[in-house]
Subunit: 267 residues, 2 copies
Amino acid sequence: MQNTQPIGIFDSGVGGLTVASAIHRLLPQESFIYFGDTRHAPYGDKSKSTILDYSRRISKFLVESNCKAIVIACNSASATAYTELREDWPQIPILNVVDPVVREVARLKARKVGLIATRATVRSELYPKSLQQFDAQALMVQKATPLLAPLVEEGFAGTKVSRGALEHYLQDPSLEDLSHLILGCTHYPLLQKEIEDYFHQKVQVLNSADLVAIALQKMLEQKALLNTHGLPASMQFYVSEKTDAFRDTAKLFFGQEIDLQERLLPA
Amino acid sequence: MQNTQPIGIFDSGVGGLTVASAIHRLLPQESFIYFGDTRHAPYGDKSKSTILDYSRRISKFLVESNCKAIVIACNSASATAYTELREDWPQIPILNVVDPVVREVARLKARKVGLIATRATVRSELYPKSLQQFDAQALMVQKATPLLAPLVEEGFAGTKVSRGALEHYLQDPSLEDLSHLILGCTHYPLLQKEIEDYFHQKVQVLNSADLVAIALQKMLEQKALLNTHGLPASMQFYVSEKTDAFRDTAKLFFGQEIDLQERLLPA
């Protein structure tokens, strides 16, 4: 394995581009290949065997494209396929999008942690289960915030639409007195500032995209896989179905214009 | 066929409940069976053959449940399955959700008609095609308004969230100077008043749910199938997948508490 090889990043759609963006900001010298399975998005309402099948096929594509590490930038695939993918590719470092943020909760000795996410992620109990695993003592309160993902996707972050929706969801009494709030959906980093403002900066907002990027950096360092050859890095973006709408959304999520290529999910 | 038999109404999800509600208000003596294929919703992004297959299986269930008429309360299924279902069941009156509103546009000799709908409905050109068919001379302008359906489904109609989203979409210059506006999605009747207010009552908003109910009444009259036996009517509501979230949405869409039963899509 050479440290100039790219990092593979995948998601059910374009949401994982916020993770790719965080990785690109922290590690600009790293090349990466992004795969968004937009044809099958969202994964949240699919069966475990279907999500596992898709995740395996995408991972195979990334490994065959010579990736040195894989980042599962999707909550549903993190919940469903992480263990299996590590078994499939024992030689390749694999990160999911849940563990780094929960590890941070444990490290910070957080008192009361809120989690906002899609209905599917809340129902899966993904974050509370991971919390137990890391033996964190924090109290965790989950709140499904189903309008936030479509709202961000349609470009309404930073408008009175997002403010209204956030007020509606965050005024839930169960979220009173939080010390921390996890953004449990890859779309939500685009709402981070508004959420911090809502809580008057009194709640620390944990953005999994940033924490995954930091965890990836550490993991690559440990395995001597950080690219030390400097720029220029290459970035490739694939989606399994391309529509006009994705172009704008992709720019929004990645933070700059990108060239999306259509590619069928590998067999 | 007896006029006491129920009416069958189906949709990909719970949106068609606004159509069921309009039918129930206009024809309270009629019994009906509603089927929402929530397991496969939304149909908009499915292939034609898949939508046709689902529509046929639901219709078979409705016919076998002794329905005297079928209302396709779903834009995607109206576009895809209307002709085929009429061929499958020549003895049963079948209505779709598009033709009644477009026929009204022709009857009113509308000048410039706006259509707001999901991205899939706009892309399908369903309404412009139907307009040609009815030889209406109106100019039609389509506008995709993708956040409106999830927004209504999540209970944000009548809030600053809906007002903000409507302002954003309706200020599009292409919608200037409208004489009429079609609500091209079964979710949108819940936004009708706000939309009328936005246009200061100067644009006539055409609600397909109401127009389908009127068209159904006429059709049943013509075929001597209107129930003349008076109340009580029975209402049955089936969905192919039931979640807690649907219960609230169903109440919102139908306008009163209803008993949703889960039932797999018939084979």
